[in-house]
């Protein structure tokens, strides 16, 4: 059984302040062309997406530089109550290659301005702990792993080639479950891409 951790991507999907708007326009019409298709214009960081090191780092790797093994792994859910807590993270027994998902429940407020202005983020101490454990991916149900200027958490994780997924949803469904996460991004040779992140219950 699978759980969908990805938001729907359409013109109403909120974009991070300053990022380009999504436009989805018809390119083929059934009655005229015999088929229907569309032209989809999106920023690489809209909706549920993955960040590659080149998003923040000069000469950082692009998404297509990573082997597929890096996009699938044991899932670990960590609850965030008001703020990220290092003790919660330590007690989660994360292992090398894990996909660590932080559940703030803010995905319920995705359509509100507050989603982009008032959200918790992990400390550098937590990021450093996850790096030392050699986790593969960190995922959040917020707009960013950073909520202060300068993107220190992005840089710390990406310098150590921990991949990042933002704007996840449905994380609460994973409570008490054992699961793998599959998050194979669209094969783009740039800084990020939409990803259909899913959890496979085991």
């Amino acid at each position: 059984m699978f759980v969908d951790l990805s938001v729907l991507l359409n013109e109403e999907t909120p974009v991070y302040p300053g990022d380009p708007q999504t436009h989805i326009t018809p390119a083929g019409l059934l009655h005229k062309d015999g088929y229907k298709d569309h032209y989809v214009c999106i920023g690489t960081h809209v909706g549920t997406h993955m960040d590659a090191p080149s998003h923040m780092l000069e000469n950082g790797k692009n998404l297509n530089d990573f082997p597929l093994e890096r996009f699938s792994g044991r899932g670990v859910l960590i609850e965030v109550n008001e703020s990220f807590n290092i003790e919660e993270v330590k007690s989660a027994a994360v292992q090398k290659g894990d996909v660590v998902l932080f559940n703030t429940e803010l995905s319920a407020r995705y359509q509100e301005d507050v989603y982009f202005t008032d959200y918790p983020a992990m400390s550098e101490e937590i990021a450093q702990f996850l790096i030392e454990k050699e986790v593969g991916i960190v995922g959040v149900d917020t707009c960013s792993v950073d909520n202060i200027d300068g993107f220190p958490i992005h840089k710390l994780l990406l310098q150590n080639e921990v991949l990042i997924i933002e704007n996840l949803t449905n994380l609460k469904i994973l409570r008490g479950k054992n699961f793998r996460v599959h998050a194979f991004p669209v094969k783009l040779a740039i800084d990020g891409a939409p990803v259909r992140a899913v959890a496979e219950l085991i």
Copy 2:
């Protein structure tokens, strides 16, 4: 271990005749904005992508109308030598929910014009056989499951909610292997989407 069945998606990725060109332009610059991102404009049927019934059928389902279970399944590889052969298909013992991949080896000629003008396609008899077996997905390493006017194979498969993946690659690596295919498309509420199709060897 995983095998990547998806082509790289960039401005050089060939597009089906008449489909819109891909444009990938910078939207954020590291030295100016503090991060790098891009604006990606693509047709829904460029590169390795999945077709939903609405691609060809009035009132057909969109991709987001299918449960995630439909995007993952046991993989079956069928060799195509010059032409699709019903006996090869019958001997492959396909089952309900399978992801049936046809290896023509034409992915090696993806950058040549001939890729879009001279390629084999399955007969209606083969499509009907796969429908009766209730396979979940049919995948090809060619530009289309149809090579004659009117898209009869698309329509037959999609009317029966068999999903289609086109422009696959690396299929020959799967010879003699047991594998699952994961092909979770970007969550778009339209006729098709890029998909990072992968095989997981088991």
